[in-house]
Amino acid sequence: MATIQTKVNEPPSDELELVRAAKGGDIGAFEELVRRYDRNVFRIAQHITQNREDAEDVVQDAFMKAYGNLTQFQEQSKFYTWLVRIAVNEALMKLRRRRPERTVSLDEDVKTEEDSIPREIADWSPNPEQQYTQAELKQILTKTINGLPPSFRTVFVLRDVEGLSTEETADALNLSIPAVKSRLLRARLQLRERLTKYFKRRDNGDGNK
């Protein structure tokens, strides 16, 4: 079985120059960094907070914090990984404020391994996404990923949606590599389990769904 294709996630060669110029007060250079990564930061923030207004705030606050702390940025890591770390922290703070009744932590180890044991084992239809309209598909995927605990959701989004490596994800989330791998496996298996309900092959001849 073929492995999944990892996104190429190398920073453009001029990135360090932009960071250095921005450190020296060049707002234009910082604007270019904002243009490169605002979509990613918005996506990550929205996935974590599940709230559009919060995600907008996170984009502003994360870039402001990055600008204010550029001198702290160690150039041996990628600017993007450093920015993601700031954005994830901002997003988790928003989530905690919105849901004070539930402690939200990336350290939580939710439930047991039980919730990741495959129960629904069925092949998917060929081209499962074509069974639904684009709007329906987005709704299914959003609802499904939002059902994951925040700690699993965040790891899945960084690794599998944004294409960060395991090491970069561990660095951005301040987790160990085994912790990232364990959460990623469980996130993937739980999503698979839930999506199978929508995408499994139906052989009863009653149409596509």
């Binding site: 079985m1 492995t3 999944i4 990892t6 996104k7 007060g25 707002i27 910082f30 604007e31 904002v34 243009r35 605002d38 979509r39 918005f42 996506r43 929205q46 996935h47 995600a55 907008e56 984009v59 502003q60 870039f63 402001m64 600008y67 204010g68 990741s116 044991i117 495959p118 084992i121 069925a122 092949d123 998917w124 499962p128 996404e129 598909l137 987005k138 995927l141 959003t142 990923i145 899945f156 599998d160 949606v161 294409g163 395991t166 791998k181 990623l184 496996l185 993937r188 298996l189 999503l191 698979r192 999506l195 199978t196 995408f199």
Partner: protein, 85 residues
């Protein structure tokens, strides 16, 4: 190798970061275990479907509004820092 051993290695297997001996054992397990084959295949599809679908797009108007707000605040903090110095 049993199914539970297979599951433990699934993430590394799908990511292609596994040593040749373990990969051979996993391939051998997949060749006869239909359940693990299905789980492996549908997990791969799960990742691909999320990767291929943009759930949260940043609309252009909101994008430029956010960017202006960020840059304005950066300018203000730059001026404030200069004044402090």
């Amino acid at each position: 190798m049993n199914c539970s051993d297979f599951l433990k290695e699934l993430t590394d297997y799908l990511d292609g970061v596994i040593d040749a001996d373990t990969k051979a054992e996993l391939d051998e397990h997949l060749a006869w275990c239909h359940n693990c084959y299905v789980v492996c295949n549908t997990t791969k599809q799960t990742i691909e479907i999320y990767r291929g679908t943009e759930l949260y797009e940043l609309p252009d108007d909101l994008r430029s509004r956010l960017r202006s707000a960020i840059l304005k605040k950066c300018e203000t903090s730059k001026v404030a820092k200069k004044n402090e110095a």
